[in-house]
Symmetry: C2
Subunit: 157 residues, 2 copies
DNA sequence: CGCAAATAGAACTAATCCAGTACTGATTAG
DNA sequence: CTAATCAGTACTGGATTAGTTCTATTTGCG
């Protein structure tokens, strides 16, 4: 499967929590409790989101976090990118390509960027607002409709 | 970043190699040498792709692997899915949801499938044929144009 | 027939990476 | 001034990945 870290997973949860709070700052502790997530982890993630400019933080008593801009202007790509670094799928496509020993033989140089681009666009098209709708029409267990007889494992990797 | 394993990375390399061979079977050793990849790894990956139905294999002397269907009918999603299991981003979205302890609080249930769907569609739209074109217009170092002052790390995660 | 070339499959290991924790410091409301 | 809250860094146990090794099986060819 394509994998993102749990940080990004939690990050989306926390962001939707903040989206529902509409402007009012909420403390890390409150969010952790609401989402039943481990507090230290939540703190860490919120800090990262703040550093990335997606959240405003207010220190001190009565402080907390709030969205830096409207939920409709924050995309899934923003959140995931903030927590996992720039969106890029392989080393080869994200690092300076100069060092790639296989450069001459792999001829790939061109297509990972294309795949990244496709995924990035897909994630950009999903706003935090969308994600905050409590119950979208849900195809709950999404199974790729492998059009070709690809063997379907029944567990994730 | 969104991450796929090196297996999938190599898998795409090998598939493009086979796409160029147009029907003629090629041995694991030949492909490994062409792409400068470790042979045992190549063997492992080709076996997996065969099991998934994307390749045909011919044992014995003069044997090798060949595409099971035309390159235009194999998508990036097929290849990645074959090597990494069904496309799914988080445990939560790929496992039986019954066991999810946070089910009641997270309200996420709906949106990972949506994100998965978006990514899956993106990958489905890219065929092996596309990937085999030697030099597509390449935005080589794809940098998300973080529209908002998102901090841009200069290394992948 | 029998050898050599090839794939099939499973088991194993070392290294890397992630999730989560702990601790110390800085800021601010009351 | 003190308690609440965010900021930042360092550390650890466990999981996952990358890659190897070994054995079995199949098949073309002399």
């Amino acid at each position: 499967m394509i994998r993102i870290t749990r940080e990004a997973d939690y990050g989306i949860l926390l962001m939707t929590g903040l989206a529902q709070a509409e402007g009012q700052p909420r403390s890390a502790a409150a969010l952790a409790q609401q989402r039943r997530l481990p507090l230290p982890m939540v703190g860490k993630i919120l800090k990262a989101l703040t550093r990335a400019g997606l959240l405003n933080s207010q220190r001190g008593a009565q402080g907390g976090y709030s969205l830096a801009r409207p939920a409709s202007e924050i995309s899934a790509a923003d959140i995931i990118g903030a927590l996992e670094g720039p969106l890029a799928i392989t080393e080869c496509s994200s690092e300076r390509h100069d060092g790639c020993a296989r450069q001459d033989h792999c001829e790939v140089s061109g297509h990972w960027p294309r795949i990244n681009q496709a995924i990035y666009s897909a994630l950009q098209g999903i706003s935090l607002d969308d994600l905050s709708q409590p119950n979208p029409p849900r195809p709950l267990h999404f199974h790729p409709l492998h059009p070709t007889g690809v063997h379907q494992l029944d567990r994730p990797i």
